[in-house]
């Protein structure tokens, strides 16, 4: 019995190791291609480990006259941080009364907001685009930041979390004479750090990796990094070393976020109340 269990452990471990290798292979190939001279990218037999590693692809890609990777990186970082900041602020201020206060129309408004989650995103694409034209927001940061800001996932998630905070804590602060804002700042926020960080990571990644919307509302120097990198793929269509260098640069910032926030991802998915 014991031996059988040990054997099944080994089989399972081997299976997982093969799967993990398959999952990592494309990323390994991206990095390894990016540090090969162009002539080494398509040789037979394949060079698993680059024999003549070089950074020339990265240097060329970062200096490319018609691919402003650094500018695109700034655009992506700026819009993702700005979006996340305002999205968190709005979600906190909307979730708080919906979870903790009693007032006329509260449940009706909550259900109205919630029902908007049913609307598929494609229905917003054309009208949002035409609104951006009317506002003269094409090719501006406004177009990248504002149209998605009223999404209610964050409100919903934080409301569910705020509901679990004991009322006694809030009552105690109130007896001490705290205002609503004081209660949020000194009671609700400190207790909600995990939920808020999770939501922050989600909205940052969502904004960073957004593809369809920036593809159409911004161009040239205003592009975000994920869109920019495909634009320049038409230039380096056959130069895979440079293309993979660009791709690696485009995935680096988000990889850094992942390494630091990895714990929150898993916890966060549990927190959103999806687990029941």
């Amino acid at each position: 019995m014991k031996r059988r269990r040990a054997a099944s452990q080994v089989v399972r471990f081997a299976g997982l190791a093969i799967l993990a290798a398959a999952f990592l292979a494309p990323l390994y190939w991206m990095i390894s291609t990016s540090i090969k001279p162009e002539s080494d990218t398509v040789v037979m037999p394949p060079q698993w480990i680059p024999t003549r590693p070089t950074l020339e692809n990265y240097i060329e890609v970062l200096n490319s006259p018609d691919a402003s990777i650094l500018r695109w990186t700034f655009n992506s970082l700026f819009t993702s941080f700005a979006y996340t900041f305002f999205y968190l602020l709005l979600s906190i201020f909307t979730a708080y009364p919906l979870a903790r206060l009693r007032f006329r129309g509260r449940d009706a408004w909550f259900w109205f907001l919630l029902s908007s989650m049913m609307i598929p995103g494609i229905m917003f694409l054309i009208p949002h685009y035409m609104m951006m034209m009317q506002f003269n927001w094409i090719d501006t940061y406004h177009a990248l930041i504002w149209p998605g800001i009223s999404g209610v996932f964050g409100t919903f998630m934080l409301r569910q979390f705020f509901l679990t905070i004991p009322h006694e804590l809030e009552d105690a602060a109130r007896i001490d004479g705290a205002s609503r804002l004081g209660i949020i700042r000194h009671v609700i926020l400190p207790l909600s750090v995990p939920a808020i960080v999770t939501l922050g990571v989600f909205s940052f990644m969502g904004s960073w990796n957004n593809y369809v919307w920036p593809l159409f509302v911004v161009h040239g120097d205003m592009l975000t990094l994920p869109v920019g990198v495909t634009q320049f793929s038409s230039r380096y269509i056959t130069e895979y070393g440079k293309l993979m260098a660009g791709t690696a640069v485009a995935s680096l910032p988000v990889l850094v976020v992942f390494v630091f926030a990895q714990r929150y991802f898993v916890e966060g998915l549990t927190l959103t109340g999806l687990k029941e």
Partner: protein
């Protein structure tokens, strides 16, 4: 109230006009909290839906100064087999449905299998979880470019391995069917299966160990434990995972655009790709808006039908939940 209390941070706004005060006694304060989001919600969520309907009922020409009302003309075209819009809209919708039908079972079944594999203790468990989840963080463009390179017709990693080590002739993954679909599905699986896995993992950890211990006392096999305990208790999660995955798969766009460009001969063009082509390349905003409305309604219908069909299987699992 003594001086010490008054000096606390949260007391500071006491001197402001009463209407704008976020205090206990101000009956308006809940509404003050809601106003900023409500304003943006009306502007960017409620208004665009109405505006989208309005656009779809008018002929919106970028160059013309007037936008004449044309009623349901653009919807009628989607039902008239003689129009280009009819032909491509339904063709690309069928492409998308094919993708949904093939990818969703893989993305749900694969995720559950992975979750079961990394749920029980094994060395390196945390590492495996991270590896399976990691591709999720990449933008679809990164995923697309990497896979287009990995599956390149001549020099791609997969073809090199097939040729060099297995003696299989290179396959035109990017430009021939059914390989083009396989490429898109493979890339999608790699990209998103880890997300569903994490949701399943969370659910698996919520199942009390005592259920399994009791079943073991009764001599239940591994399969019996799975089919009588794990699967039924996971069904609310499965409903959630299936619905969100179907919605996500309906939005197929970047993978097709970047890996195959929608080809060969539009066979992997998704319906959202076609809508953006009609809107942003042909400048037919009204026609694109009408298609988006029809597609949106079809997607909503799918969600409702699935929810009902799947929710029937949940039974007590969902009802017993107090939340």
């Amino acid at each position: 109230m003594d001086r010490a209390t008054r000096n606390r941070g949260w007391e500071r706004n006491e001197r402001r006009p009463r209407v704008f005060q976020f205090s206990e006694s101000n009956p308006l304060s809940p509404y003050l909290f809601l106003i900023p989001h409500a304003a943006l919600f009306l502007l960017f969520t409620v208004y665009p839906i109405g505006f989208g309907v309005y656009v779809s009922l008018h002929r919106w020409d970028v160059l013309a100064s007037t936008q004449p009302f044309v009623g349901l003309e653009f919807y009628r075209r989607l039902l008239d087999p003689n129009t280009v819009q009819f032909q491509f809209f339904w063709k690309t919708l069928l492409n998308t449905l094919l993708f949904v039908a093939v990818s969703v079972p893989l993305l749900v079944g694969g995720a559950l299998s992975l979750a079961l594999l990394v749920n029980r203790p094994i060395s390196g468990r945390g590492f495996f979880r991270a590896v399976f989840f990691a591709p999720n963080i990449f933008a679809v463009s990164v995923v697309g470019l990497v896979w287009r390179w990995v599956l390149d017709n001549q020099a791609g990693l997969v073809n090199i391995v097939l040729d060099e080590y297995l003696g299989v002739r290179p396959i035109n993954f990017i430009t021939e069917q059914p390989w083009a679909w396989l490429s898109i599905i493979l890339a999608t699986l790699w990209w998103t299966v880890g997300f569903n896995m994490v949701i399943y993992l969370a659910a698996l950890q919520g199942i009390p160990k005592t259920y399994y211990e009791a079943a073991e006392l009764d001599g239940a096999s591994t399969w019996a434990k799975f089919s009588h305990i794990t699967w039924p208790l996971l069904s609310p999660t499965t409903v959630f995972v299936v619905i969100t995955t179907v919605i996500a798969s309906f939005q197929l766009f970047g993978q097709s655009l970047i890996i195959t460009g929608g080809g060969p001969s539009r066979s992997t063009q998704s319906v959202i790709m076609y809508i953006t082509e009609e809107g942003f390349s042909n400048f037919q905003f009204s026609s694109a808006a009408a298609m988006a409305m029809v597609l949106g309604l079809i997607m909503m219908l799918f969600t409702v039908v699935q929810f009902r069909a799947l929710a029937r299987d949940i039974g007590m699992g969902a009802k017993g939940d107090a939340r």
